[in-house]
Amino acid sequence: MRKPITPMKPRVSQYGVDPKYVTKRMAEYPEMTSVMLKDLFPDTPDVIYPSEKGISAVREAAEKALENVDMSMIKPGDSVNVCASHHGFTLLGGEPYAELLKTVRDVIAERTGTENIRLRAGVGLRFRETEEYIKSFGLDKHYKGKAKGVAPVDEGIPIETEIGTLYGIKAIYDADWIVHVHNSDVREVHFHRQVDRAVKPFGMSYARIETRSTYHQNLGPRGANFTARAIFASDFVQSKFAFTAFLEMSPVGVVSVDADNDLYALNDRLTVSGCKYYGKIMTLMGEIDECIVGLDFPCPVPYVFAAGVIYANFAGANVDLFDLDGSLPPYTWYTEAFYGKDGKPLVDNAPPVNPAIKMVVHNYAWGGYPSAFFSEHAPTIVVGREQADLLNRDPQNLDYMKHAVIADELDTAMKFAYEVSGTDKVIIFDGAVGGVNVSESLGKLLHEKAPAVSEKVDKELLPKWLRQRGIDPETIK
């Protein structure tokens, strides 16, 4: 039995409880083991981070990728906004993304001669989250005091697009040039469906509330991410866009850094790698027949990670989220909206939340994201009254505790979960890097199922996913 992988540490944040209240991690139980992705899928890519080289590998890869990028449009004295998003800081502790942001600044300054380079870091629904990251990773200092978090309620600007007027955050676009720095972690497949993944921040973390509401309320579950393309394709954004740089992610770490003046070209490459790198583990998660889920990571409930996959995607792992033939995932805001007053879906084709989830032990996860859907649809035990109080104070989670029970400590919660669920299979969403912390019983099941899943993805699913996105599967052979 492999030892569990060390989980990601709790983080000091206004959106979570003080780390002193996280007294025990789920991976500490003797029945827990770990499964490495490379052992499940031998074709798992090699990574540059984490590696023996440390964080310098990211800087080196970024500098190399940026060598092929044209920056001649940026003149000395021009203002440049390096646009970032909170997501990147949740990957591998955040350091690789912070290093990419630092490198991009350094290379722009060196190549163009301009010093007027600002960091504009967008957020999800926790408006001060990137302010916290800017401080903790020293980005304010690196950007010479020109770093700030921006939020979707900040002053906006209208952007004329081919579908009508949408709205961006003014501070994102208040420079001569913008540089889009992001990552390819597939993350919210339930929302963007791996369609234009690389473009998404233009409709989300760089966008005003009107645009984000368009995404989640006006366009439908498979058209939603078009808001991002509409904004990016606008004359206004095109007139300011200089280039893009991405951490190319896989479930086991940073594969490389990709950069381009053509975001669509980079998007096509990352569409392929996203389907390829994440498709197998997500499909394998769909093979889990029953389990207790542990939430144990410094992020809101849907965004805690296991094997590089977020819990929101595991909640939908009973269907193929990459398959665009399916309209509604088990969890997405459109699905949530379509549950009627009787607690049943308004439409027949709404799949239920993954029935393999028998119990959820919420040992450590943040507020700051509407998460009541999860406690309503899966029996949930929250560890510690401090966490329950935090959720009850959170305007986005006023109903979360209506559907959950509280255990004073993790031991009580686990005992209850084992007894009531009747399963000894446990999967822990604790950000373990390179693999996943699970119970021995679940580890065995994952090993048994992985070869058949691998073959099915290679031969059947991946070609289908790519065809659905306008990419010829032959081109990747």
């Binding site: 408006f127 081919e162 308004l346």
Partner: protein, 205 residues
């Protein structure tokens, strides 16, 4: 429905009167008096926008002594009017429009029928736009439009305007991107189906 448990409180020593809190308040509960922010406790819905955007960290969220319930009961207005408004806005009356408060389209429609003619008044009376403060502005504007109301924008950043829906996307745009994974017509079919379903569901107990 929204149970308001929190209240914004200003530290007058820290407040610089920059007006940002006023500009982001979805219920217009903030006024600047003598260069200091003043919160109207009656109007505050505890959303925390002021707390989250104050550049001086001058606003705290404190627990209310007595929680306040805001709710417009759809049963108290003509059902037919609610259904007509929702149909025009292409929504099902039972559809959830605010994911934080689980407010349904019918409650927003009922508030409009009862006289709430701006997003701010709707937020005040139903609690929508006071959770995440991000995702539910469009259904509110669509329902107001369906009622024939063009609300005036407040003097701030609360909202800018209604944006396109999937039904507004031009055919040539749909065609241009049809091979890129955007399933516009299929999603229109789904959303139309949802809007048309008749339910007389009772709230789950």
């Amino acid at each position: 429905m929204r149970i308001v448990t929190m209240l914004a409180e200003v530290d007058e020593q820290k407040c610089i009167g920059c007006k940002i809190c006023q500009k982001v308040c979805p219920t217009l509960a903030i006024e600047i008096v003598n260069k200091v922010s003043k919160i109207d406790a009656e109007k505050c819905r505890g959303c925390g926008n002021c707390n989250q955007r104050c550049p001086e960290d001058a606003v705290s969220m404190v627990k209310r002594e007595t929680p306040v319930k805001v709710f417009v009961d759809p049963e108290t207005v003509d059902r037919k009017k609610i259904e007509e408004m929702c149909e025009k806005a292409r929504m099902n009356p039972e559809q959830i429009v605010c994911y934080c408060t689980a407010t349904r389209a019918e409650e927003v429609a009922a508030a409009i029928i009862k006289g709430a003619d701006t997003p701010e008044k709707i937020s005040l009376e139903t609690g929508v736009r006071t959770g995440c403060k991000v995702e539910c502005i469009q259904p509110v504007l669509r329902l107001l439009e369906a009622a024939g109301i063009q609300p005036e924008r407040p003097d701030g950043y609360q909202w800018y305007g209604r944006t396109p829906t999937i039904w507004d996307i031009p055919e040539e745009v749909k065609h241009k991107y049809s091979k890129r994974g955007f399933y516009f017509d299929e999603d229109i079919k789904l959303l139309d189906e949802v809007a048309k379903i008749k339910k007389t569901g009772k709230e789950e107990q």
